[in-house]
Every structure is written in C-alpha cells, then in structure tokens.
C-alpha cells in the first residue's frame, strides 16, 4: 500500500461526496479543509499524475440509462497464461473492466474476470461468445454471472483516520 499525505487523504474522502456543483468548487473544498484553491488544484493534479486517482470526472449510473445487462464473465486460466490473456481481453472495447483475482478453491476456481455491460442480455452474451471464440477460450472452465439486482452503488469510503463521512 502506498502512503499518501493526510491532506490528500482528506481530499479523496471529501470527493466521495462529490465535487461541489458551484462555480469555484476547489475553493469551496479548500475552505472546508483549510487549503487554498490553488493548493487543492495542485494536490489533485499530483494525485492524477501519479496515478493514485485513476479517473476524475462524471460518475455515471448506467443502470438508470438502460444498461441493465451487466455480466461478470469468469475463467479458470493457468497461472502462466493469465497475464497475456488478460491483456488480450482488455483490448476489446466492450470489456469495461478486466482483472485477475485470487482463487478460493474448491469453492471458487476462477481467476480471470471481465465485465461487459450492455442494454440487451442477448447482445452481451454474443460479445462474450466472441471473446471465447477469438481468444480460443472454449476449453477453459468458464461462467457468466449476470447481475439480477443492484442493492448498493456508492463511492468507496476507506474509513480510516476518522475522515470518511457517514454515507
């Protein structure tokens, strides 16, 4: 884990509630945290440039726009092949997230995950079939888990140092 400055941590915790929708949002956040507007901007720029902030922008709730076919596709890939395959999967424009996770045998044998979101289940299934066929994955143990209900979707709250607000 990378250590980040307390003030940066406070900024990230504050951003979990959203950047204020006012003309000078960085000044407003700075006033809350005891930082100047310029300091807030500089700190955020550094967090973006250093890759700690992965993405800064509008967080869209796709479900509300009809993107309700949300598939988590999983494969059990030999350990020495998973990195190359993950890179191949991630290159497909319709794969929105792709990662390797630790297996939990025997209950959970899968180590490669790819998310595909769309409006129609049949379309998402055909996209996943395309992955299996083009990347030669048909021989692997594989499962597609569509989501059936969203119970909670909110910003991550890391909750240490007493900074995160109740949400």
């Amino acid at each position: 884990m990378i250590e980040i400055a307390d003030k940066d941590h406070q900024l990230l915790a504050r951003l979990a509630d959203g950047l204020p929708l006012v003309s000078r949002p960085y000044a407003e956040m700075g006033a809350e945290l005891g930082l100047s507007e310029d300091d807030v901007i500089a700190r955020l720029r550094h967090l973006v440039d250093s890759g700690i902030i992965r993405r800064f922008g509008l967080i869209v709730r796709h479900h509300e726009l009809g993107y309700r076919a949300n598939a988590m596709s999983v494969w059990d890939v030999p350990d020495d092949e998973v990195d190359a395959l993950g890179a191949d999967l991630a290159a497909y424009p319709f794969v929105t997230l792709c990662y390797r996770r630790r297996r939990q045998p025997p209950r959970w044998p899968y180590n490669l995950f790819a998310m595909v979101h769309g409006k129609e289940r049949a379309h998402v299934l055909s996209q996943i079939a395309q992955l299996n066929e083009q990347l030669g994955l048909e021989h692997l143990r594989h499962h597609v888990l569509f989501s059936t209900k969203r119970y909670k979707q909110s910003a991550a709250r890391f909750g240490d140092r007493g900074l995160a607000k109740a949400g």
């Binding site: 800064f56 479900h63 509300e64 910003a155």
Partner: protein, 152 residues
C-alpha cells in the same frame, strides 16, 4: 426497478466528454460550458438535473485499488429465500460500497473497502457472524484494463 431515463443530445455530449480528464482549473464548469457552447449556470443546472434523475452519481474520482486503503471483492452463497434480507444486512455496512445479486450459487457480490487488510477481514467476519454464511474473499492480483469511463 426504476424506469429507464431518456437524456437529451446535449446531456449525452456532456456525459461522454467529461467522464475523465475533468478540468483542474479554478472554474471547471465554466471551461466545460465553453467547450460545449453553453453558459456556466446552464451547465451546472444540467448537472444538477442529471443528479436528481439518478443518472449522475457525482463528480468524483476512482482511486487506484489499494493506494488509499484496502479493498476486495467478496461473495456469499445465500439461500434464495433469504437473499434480499442478507443483501440488506451487507449493504448496511459502511465499508460495503457495491452490492449486487448475480446468477450463480454465489448469488451476492459486494466490494469492501477498509483502511487495511485487517479491516477487510474484520468486516468479513462481521458479515459471517451476522448472516451465518461464510464469504469468499477474492482480492485483486492484477488489473488489465484502465478505467476510462463508458461511452453512452
């Protein structure tokens, strides 16, 4: 399930243009408004309208996993009759930020965040004791995709 929301072409342009690289300047909304041929007040009103309709979650950040704290995906195999009740118990934890039902014996999937790995294990132990079900913990080993947002 909430109805599917329609958006105007101008709203679509806004949502597609600023899911990343949000302006880091004193008046970011004015800069966005300029780029889209609007004025700042109209753009702020549009963002508020999108938020009220549930389409815009927030103007915010996604953080590289395990840089500002620890996180993991986890899942439970819940007897179907108990699914909604157990989901509510899991959602009630502040450390849970995403929680979805999925089609599998492991039918409840959630993301936990905490200050460190011990905090994750503590939350998972709490879930096990509250629900009587044993979660699987599936921490991230590698990421192959940079999150660039999603073109609408």
């Amino acid at each position: 399930m909430p109805a599917v929301q329609a958006i105007t072409e101008q709203e679509r342009a806004l949502l597609n243009s600023y899911q990343r690289d949000f302006p880091l300047q004193a008046r970011p909304y004015a800069a966005m408004a300029d780029a889209l041929g609007m004025d700042e007040d109209a753009l702020l009103a549009m963002l508020r309208g999108l938020q009220e309709r549930g389409i815009l979650g927030r103007v915010g950040v996604t953080v590289r996993p395990n840089s500002a704290g620890a996180s993991t995906l986890a899942a439970l195999a819940v007897p179907p009759a108990r699914l909604d009740a157990v989901a509510d118990q899991v959602s009630a934890l502040k450390s849970v930020n995403h929680n979805y039902a999925r089609e599998h014996d492991f039918n409840l999937w959630f993301v936990l965040t905490a200050a460190d790995d011990a905090g994750l294990d503590q939350a998972l132990a709490e879930i096990a004791s509250t629900t009587g079900l044993t979660p699987i913990k599936l921490p991230l080993d590698a990421e192959y995709h940079i999150d660039l947002g999603f073109t609408l």
